[in-house]
Symmetry: C2
């Protein structure tokens, strides 16, 4: 019997012993993080599925796993022989997890899960969905602990204080501003005694307590960085901020004495990581600001019943998204460093292909070695995607060292990578021409490029959201009957998570994602349209954009983007006659900037080559 | 003393007698109509203000009138000497009416108004805004009736049945479909005993009673047309639809015996117009579907307290917006007729200017005479805007017969007009070059044209809303630091109101307007970007678009637009070198269609001229 089938059967035994009919396990940690530490990788242990997003349910008769389009093929392979049914989320006639739970509990029963792994918002949704009075929801059932015997320990990596020359603002100052914002919260929802309340959306409320559970929010507010999650320099922590006090919950071992003393001097009380649950229970009747989409429901249930909950992404989220002048200056420097590495990689790739064996992974390794040469580089900001031809059609392909494809002097190599620097986080994609490619691929490449350029050159009135601008990137593809099945771009943290709310580019508003805020000056967003043709090829071109204020006149405040990314866009796949005059202008100005910025950092040979690959494009090549 | 000041004082006396501290009168009828009949023109009588949108409040110490940017100058003139303060809505530091009422009632008092003139949604907003327990709201106070002695009678114009060859669907069939939709309503809000209820947005509810109060919804459902509002072929009426019955409330004098008999045969019970209030009171405990933004609060208060209210724009609104095959075929014919008139007008204008005196109004008159030559033409679909140069900078300018500007053989004439035909409603704007114009005006004209063409040529995935596409029309202007301060387009009725929800193009969602629905096949929307430079010139180019299904593939259902409007776009102001290749293609294909469609209807001279004005545009003229 398959090892995973065995583990599911073991779990079924535990279900019986605990009187649970349906057990539910998401891919999650206690903080609603997008990426999670090894301690939380319960799904790979139980089911064999290793994708970054999945949800498992187990009953005595059925086990099912939900995942999205990125992982259909992988999940099918990994789940084979496990007896677990694959639910392809988003496909026609496939229920959502909440709908499936509703169906499983239609005749009553007990649903159990570990409430620390599910958000309060999800619990509310579940309660609305399961309108069956014979069904019971139990949020305190952790069956993983007894089952997973060799479970890794909860991460406890050293954390450090990020200096003000990088953050641009002290924690003391940030706390002043956040406390000010706590007095005028415009919540999305209000809960009293667990019931949703009706109120006017324009009304402002004052919060007594701000409960912060998102790891990047906490890292930003306290100017701390850690490494409890691969590629995400955060530390496992919770925080509570009141008008006069601030409590930071973490494993005390992660801070050195000097940092602990510094925090104490700033008026911050350090408490053990788990103490948040006791402390929450001790809050008396008060108004608590929290983000129901991120806070786990066990923590909310620990709060006294009399608390009023103001549900809002919170002032830290919006303050963090707007990069300050120091951060922006640093980011520009980080992108130059990153651009040097990526450009030297392109030079190497173009000059080495066909002469020496290169695989997807060896290319990624070489790129990493170039980034490591840059001062202040800490680690990749996510797992590099180095994908050749058909592999690049899988948006989140990750080459396996053993099966990594060998690159030939033909076709396309897509490389999506980024770095964590003291000066900020980068994320860049280029698709490189390794030799001959079909004309159709050039058409696709040119359409992707046109969309990327149009969005980069957008000028728009203040008040626009990603939803208003997304079509600029997508239109050249839509005109051809093509699409990429994801957003056009996401917010990027500052030496923090490479995916950051609340800004983004996406045509369809997805409330859970909270990425369609009004674009504010100082927000950094990626611009990454693509074409993904199954079994054939994948193309993506990605620059990072920072939003700036332009002219203010009688029509309002105009906004525009400045591009942060500094590395050539491969012209070998461009059909210049398909670009409009203004697209050509945007491209040529971009390449002029790239050339002038990077030239001082190139060898003589690289410099000559750089001049050629950043040449202005005319109406015909 | 100014006559309006006298009338306000008379009203103040009535306030005292009735124990009212604040009296509130909007520009409105009993149906939430955008345009209103003479019976409802209370504001012009009381205040002298004649604009189409305004709100008056009167206390013993103050009288104030709110209106929007279209009417600031006009209101200032009309209100002078009346003692009424002008509140410029939308300007900085100007309160909304609800905010002003909140201020006036902050120490308590009695607010009175005629509840038939205010929507239930507004009443709810007011109740939320006035959170002062010492304030009383009375919705049953009509002080206009005793005050306005020469008040015109409520309109009672003859109505008629529109034949199925025009409507494409019988009322019997429409009732079947509406009753089906009543079983699966997804309301925006639910009220029980006047209190808002919390529920899951995805949940579907069944309505026992559908209360329809929007005049165009009723006209559509019962295939009736009338003329109780100028340019809007509707009749004053209410309707109630239940699973087995349908009640139509109107003045019985408006229908001839044959039509009444026909309706009776279709199972429709005719009731007197005002009987809706008694009948509403007699409904027992049931679930009522209504549109809180449109239904008046007096009618809602007439409902028994035990009723559950499902607040939704309702199934008639969405069904009406999606034109059926017969309507679309008719609409195409209507647009050809309309195009013939507008094109002959252009020919006349271009050949007459400088030779003979033409004024803004005489031009409009001539255009109307050409429309009247078309079979099936009934009346203009709105008051024609014929605006020369600087006058066109006022978006809703209406030439006065006495002060109407004389057209010179130089500059630009903007003509926005439309017709009501049995085959549908049209709305078209062209801006004509009458002679020399500055280069900058050509740049503006070209930018407007580029935006109009880009939106017309959009290809997009099903699920897009106007908010996603708007930037296609606006981008060329935004790139120049220009904007038009309104939406890009609105839905259009079928021999009904020229402004119709729920489709439209607008970048900022305005919930009250309800014009940002998902674009469905068969919806008709105008595409009318513009440039308005105060004291200088105004440019608008408007075509009507019908949404169509295109290719369906693995990415989803693609959609595109077909243009309904058939009349040349004046090329004399176009800078061809500023158009992209695809914009030129769209323009040239459009003009080819215009030429081929209209040629058979032109005289020899007109035909030769038409060939010239619809010539293909190259990279240079």
């Amino acid at each position: 019997m398959n090892v995973f089938a065995e583990r599911i059967n073991e779990l079924r035994l535990l279900l019986k012993q605990n009187g649970i009919d349906v057990y539910y396990i998401p891919t999650a940690d206690f903080h609603g993080s997008e990426y999670i530490g090894d301690y939380f990788r319960i799904l790979p242990y139980l089911s064999g599925f290793t994708g970054s997003a999945g949800t498992l349910f187990v009953t005595q008769n059925e086990a099912g796993l939900f995942t999205d389009g990125r992982y259909f093929i992988q999940a099918e392979q990994e789940l084979s022989d496990s007896g677990i049914t694959l639910y392809r989320s988003g496909m026609e006639n496939v229920p959502t997890p909440a709908e499936k739970l509703r169906e499983l509990l239609k005749d009553g029963g007990v649903l159990g899960f570990d409430g620390r792994l599910l958000s309060y918002a999800f619990l509310q949704q579940l309660k609305e969905s399961i309108d069956n009075s014979n069904a019971t929801i139990r949020c305190d059932v952790d069956l993983t602990e007894p089952l997973w015997r060799e479970r890794p320990a909860l991460s406890c990596c050293p954390a450090y204080r990020l200096a003000e020359c990088y953050t641009g603002k002290s924690t003391v100052q940030k706390l002043v501003e956040i406390r000010d914002a706590m007095k005028k919260v415009q919540p999305e929802r209000i809960y009293k005694k667990g019931e949703k309340q009706i109120f006017s959306k324009k009304q402002k409320f004052s919060a007594d307590v701000y409960l912060i559970t998102s790891l990047d929010d906490i890292a930003w507010l306290f100017n701390l960085r850690g490494s409890d999650i691969l590629h995400n320099p955060v530390l496992l922590s919770y925080a509570i901020v009141t008008e006069s006090k601030a409590f930071l919950y973490l494993n005390p071992a992660v801070l050195d004495a000097a940092t602990s003393a510094l925090l104490a001097k700033e008026g911050i009380t350090l408490r053990p990581y788990d103490a948040i649950y006791e402390d929450a229970a001790k809050l008396c009747k008060c108004t608590v600001l929290l983000d129901a989409r991120r806070v786990n429901c066990a923590l909310v249930q620990a709060l006294p019943e009399e608390c009023t909950l103001l549900d809002s992404p919170g002032p830290v989220l919006s303050a963090k998204a707007v990069k300050n002048a120091v951060e922006l200056k640093n980011l520009a420097a980080a992108h130059v460093k990153d651009g040097i590495a990526v450009t030297k990689f392109m030079y190497w790739l173009k000059h080495t292909i066909g002469k020496q064996t290169i695989t997807e992974t060896s290319a990624a390794d070489f790129l990493l070695s170039l980034r490591k040469e840059q001062e202040g580089f800490l680690e990749p900001s996510f797992e590099t995607i180095s994908a050749y031809n058909a592999n690049a059609a899988m948006m989140h392909y990750c080459a396996d060292r053993e099966t990594s494809a060998e690159l030939k002097p033909a076709g396309l190599l897509l490389v999506d990578s980024g770095g964590q620097y003291y000066e900020g986080t980068t994320d860049v994609t280029r698709t490189y021409v390794l030799g001959d490619i079909p004309y159709e691929w050039k058409q696709h490449y040119t359409a992707v490029l046109r969309g990327m350029l149009s969005l980069s050159a957008a000028r728009f009135l203040y008040g626009c959201r990603g939803v208003n601008l997304d079509i600029l990137a997508r239109s050249p593809l839509w005109q051809m009957g093509l699409d990429y099945r994801c957003g056009t771009g996401h917010g990027v943290g500052y030496l923090l998570n490479v995916h950051e709310a609340p800004n983004g580019f996406r045509w369809r508003i997805v409330p859970e994602r909270n990425d369609s805020c009004v674009l504010e000056e100082g927000m950094v967003t990626t611009n990454e349209p693509g074409v993904y043709i199954e079994d054939s090829h994948g193309i993506r071109i990605e620059n990072e954009l920072v939003c700036k204020k332009g002219e203010k006149n009688e029509y309002g405040q105009f906004m525009y983007f400045e591009t942060l990314t500094v590395t050539p866009i491969d012209l070998d796949a461009v059909l210049p006659e398909e670009l409009t005059a203004s697209e050509r202008k945007t491209l040529n100005e971009y390449h002029k900037m790239v050339y002038e910025t990077l030239l001082p950092h190139m060898t003589k040979e690289e410099g000559e080559w750089l001049r050629e690959v950043t040449r202005p494009v005319g109406e015909k090549e």
